[in-house]
């Protein structure tokens, strides 16, 4: 409007427009001051929910001033809770109204209807009445579509004092957003350690379920038909709603977890376990309630002591069962020892602590000298797998007790404190008085000697093992060379065969230069193999120096010498006829064969 008034084309009408605008604003203000009729109405949203879900009831008081929240009558199949009050101002067709809204939550229970009767309120001397409302309650949310909970015990019959594992398995098709650890209703059982792990998915009734399992160690403490469970598992799910939100809300939904949140409490079926007392018939006198399978191992140290000296007894009990019920039994009367219980510890072998090792350490003190045979302790337990009592005892301990010196017992609990200097005695023999050393000398750490360090022994014995290594190096080098030689020889033989083929081709095709080149290479390679040295440039001298001593015959030597001299001449006059080449080829093959035979003989 202001822009319109300030437009240059409308300058002549600017005054008229300004006055008209002012008039419109005044009329609007007057119109807005007009109030609507007071009213009271009840609203229910939504009007249809599932069992267990909730709806919202709003009592709207329009232009009735401050009205207290009315007390609603009790309704069947639902509980109503007051949630709060809010105020709303609206302007419709120049009519301004102020609404006070009291909000309630209607929590439904079972499928059916929830009838909310007409509500009457007094305000401003008048009575206002709302219309009755009906909320339809459907079947509700089907939790089995999401998942279910199972409680399992290894067997239906256990014994008092027996520790056994139970499993709670949660099969689910959708992962909860949040969850609390499952709870288990216990009566007559004591809960022990608990573990949780994911199991491979399982297919049940053609549906694939993910599975998570909790293992719980339980110990039965009373006999009878005891109910175990149900197990409960509280979860919070967030379901994406079908309705697409519009505007700004859709932008923030991903940030604030848009969707419907629903708390789902899964519950398993309870179990009934028959808990039995171990039978009294055949019960050993040492039985103290231990149930399981155990093995006993007893050691004593030292076994040769003076009377009155302590002997440390170590009792290791390994196996599976209720280790909490294991106690170190008293010594039998008249055993000749006094028992002083010490410490005990338990090392579990599995996370639930169903199996492991319990160790008792105690001290026994022999009262009299002699050789004492002590068969103690004896462990008696009920084995639920064989349904029988068992007793286990290690071999008797044999302790040799010498006559001891009488020691003056110190009252229990008194510990001498730090050194308290006493007053000097009156009689100090001056002749035996020791002089003081005047110089402090170097201060040293009272650390162990260097010979206790490993490096000292390495340094000390260095010459010995270095000498040994030095003796081993030639042997090692020779073995390396020997292991490498066959490969080198095979490679040389292959190279030689290739050269001989090329030599024959050159002789057949009448190429004397190539023939002499390949012939020289073949002879050098063969001689190198014969003398056992890498290929080089052997001359005629090698025949006299190496080959004849190695077993080359005189005739072969003569022909080989002639061949090598011919190769030397060919450097200056390589031209040869085909017949000469053929003759030289035969000579070459003879010499190569002779050298080969010599090598094989060697």
């Amino acid at each position: 409007m202001v822009t319109l008034i300030l437009h240059p084309l409308l300058a002549p009408f600017r005054r008229i427009l300004s006055e008209a605008t002012l008039l419109v604003l005044v009329l609007c203000a007057v119109a807005v001051q007009t109030r609507a009729e007071p009213s009271f109405q009840a609203e229910l949203a939504p009007d249809s929910v599932g069992a267990g879900d909730s709806a919202t009831l709003r009592l709207v008081f329009t232009d009735l001033g401050d009205v207290e929240a009315p007390t609603l009558p009790a309704v069947t199949n639902a509980t109503i809770r007051y949630q709060g009050v809010s105020q709303q101002i609206s302007i419709v067709n120049f009519s301004r109204s102020t609404s006070l809204i009291h909000q309630y939550q209607v929590q439904t229970q079972n499928p059916g209807l929830v009838q909310i009767p007409a509500l009457s309120v007094e305000a401003g001397g008048q009575t206002y009445t709302s219309a009755p409302l009906t909320l339809r309650v459907g079947q509700g949310f089907d939790m089995s579509r999401i998942g279910f909970l199972r409680l399992m015990a290894p067997r239906p019959e256990v014994y008092v004092g027996e520790t056994f594992p139970v499993e709670i398995r949660f099969y689910y098709r959708e992962t909860p957003a949040r969850q609390a650890p499952p709870s288990l209703k216990l009566d007559g059982f004591i809960k022990g350690q608990q573990t949780v792990e994911n199991l491979p998915p399982e297919t049940i009734t053609n549906l694939l379920y993910s599975v998570v399992r909790w293992n719980i160690a339980l110990t039965a403490v009373k006999a009878g038909e005891l109910s175990l469970g149900p197990a409960e598992f509280q979860t919070l799910y967030v379901f994406q709603t079908q309705r697409r939100s519009r505007g700004m809300n859709s932008l923030f939904e991903p940030l604030f977890g848009g969707g419907e949140q629903r708390q789902l409490n899964f519950q398993s079926e309870p179990l009934t376990l028959k808990v039995l007392n171990p039978p009294s018939a055949g019960r050993p006198p040492q039985f103290a309630g231990a149930v399981g399978q155990f093995q006993l191992d007893v050691t004593a140290s030292p076994t040769n002591v003076a009377a009155g000296d302590p002997v440390t007894i170590r009792v290791d009990i390994t196996g599976r069962g209720n280790f909490d019920a294991l106690r170190l039994p008293d010594l039998p009367s008249g055993s000749g020892f006094q028992l002083y219980p010490g410490t005990n510890s338990f090392t579990p072998n599995d996370p639930l602590g169903l199996s492991g090792k319990k160790t008792f350490e105690a001290v026994i003190i022999p009262e009299s000298p002699g050789v004492h045979s002590l068969k103690w302790p004896m462990l008696a337990y009920w084995d639920p797998s064989t349904k029988a009592y068992r007793t286990d005892a290690d071999h008797p301990l044999s302790i040799h007790v010498r006559p001891g010196v009488q020691s003056q017992a110190q009252p229990v609990g008194t510990v001498p404190g730090p050194a308290e200097p006493r007053t000097p005695p009156d009689s100090v023999n001056p002749q035996l008085e020791l002089p003081l050393i005047p110089d402090l000398g170097p201060l040293v750490e009272t650390s162990p000697s260097v010979i206790t360090r490993p490096w000292f022994w390495w340094v000390l014995t260095f010459p010995v093992w270095a000498y040994g290594l030095a003796g081993l190096i030639p042997t090692w080098k020779r073995r390396c060379r020997e292991s490498r030689q066959p490969a080198t020889r095979d490679e040389a033989e292959r190279r030689l065969a290739t050269v001989i083929r090329s030599m024959r081709d050159a002789a057949g095709s009448g190429r004397p230069a190539d023939f002499f080149l390949h012939l020289n290479n073949a002879l050098q390679e063969r001689i190198a193999l014969s003398v056992g040295r890498p290929g080089g440039s052997f001359t005629v001298d090698v025949i006299q120096e190496r080959l004849i001593p190695a077993g080359l015959g005189d005739e072969e030597a003569t022909r080989l010498r002639a061949l090598l001299e011919r190769i030397a001449e060919a450097r200056f006059s390589p031209d040869s006829s085909a017949a000469e080449l053929s003759e030289l080829l035969a000579e070459a093959e003879f010499s190569l064969e002779a050298l080969g035979c010599m090598t094989r003989r060697a």
């Binding site: 302590p310 402090l440 000398g441």
Partner: protein
């Protein structure tokens, strides 16, 4: 330049150079008093008959925590003059481990004491190995071993001289073996023998590592013991003379270093 002022300048520079070291040293010991001063203070107090003050001064020197043979010996002398022969012997034994041939320490250990106040110590077959420290035995074994190794290498390097060196090689090899054997014996004697001494008179040996446990027997101060295990401030010890075993609090014992 005047030689006198030059000498003063040098001395000042030397002192300034020592300042950082002095500051570093001050963080390890009692602030402001050097171990040497404390030691001398202890000596003066003991000489004056104030044994308690002397003991306090010696304890402050050892708080570094380092010690010396002289400190342990004088500490033992102070205890001895107080009549605590057992405690004195535990310090002298420690001094003996540090300087096994010190005549003062040896005479102190051989000094006759009142019957019953200290344990009777007997000399065993390998007692002579205590005349040297393990470090010294180690050097005595190291030298012939290296010489013998050198001879062996020389014979390999110069085969022609092998015959001439044969006698030396055999002789030195024999000496090496003996030296290694003595080193092993000295190490075994110290490792397997007593490694602790009771440091308090009437040290209680209890049947389990608990203050409430019954006292099995008591030992006089200075009794050599063999420790077997340690648990939360308690040592399981055995008396090598009669194999009696029990638990002793750590502060009742003086551990002998393996030296």
């Amino acid at each position: 330049m005047n030689p006198l002022s030059r000498r003063k300048g040098l001395r000042l520079g030397f002192l300034l150079g020592l300042l950082p070291w002095g500051l570093l040293g001050a963080t390890n010991g009692p602030v402001g008093i050097s171990p040497e001063s404390l030691f001398q203070l202890g000596n003066r107090e003991v000489s004056a008959g104030n044994y308690t003050n002397g003991l306090t001064a010696y304890a402050k020197v050892a708080a570094v925590p380092r010690t010396s043979a002289a400190l342990e010996y004088n500490w033992g002398v102070a205890w001895s003059r107080l009549g605590e022969e057992g405690r004195a012997r535990s310090h002298w034994r420690l001094a003996e481990r540090l300087t096994p041939r010190n005549p003062l320490v040896l005479s102190a250990l051989r000094r006759p004491t009142g019957a019953g106040t200290t344990p009777v110590e007997t000399e065993d077959l390998l007692g002579w190995t205590d005349r040297l420290t393990l470090d010294e035995w180690g050097i005595l074994a190291l030298v012939p071993t290296w010489c013998w190794g050198g001879l062996l290498f020389l014979r390999r390097w110069k085969p022609a001289a092998a015959a001439a060196l044969r006698g030396y090689t055999l002789g030195l090899g024999l000496i090496t073996l003996v030296a290694l054997g003595v080193l092993g014996a000295a190490l075994a004697r110290r490792s397997l023998g007593p490694d602790a001494l009771t440091s308090t008179p009437q040290t209680p040996v209890r049947i389990s590592p608990l203050a409430e446990a019954r006292t099995a027997f008591e030992l006089p101060a200075g009794t050599p013991l063999k420790t077997r295990s340690f648990r939360e401030g308690w040592y399981l010890v055995a008396d090598p003379r009669n194999e009696r075993a029990g638990w002793v609090r750590a502060h009742h014992l003086t551990r002998l270093p393996l030296r």
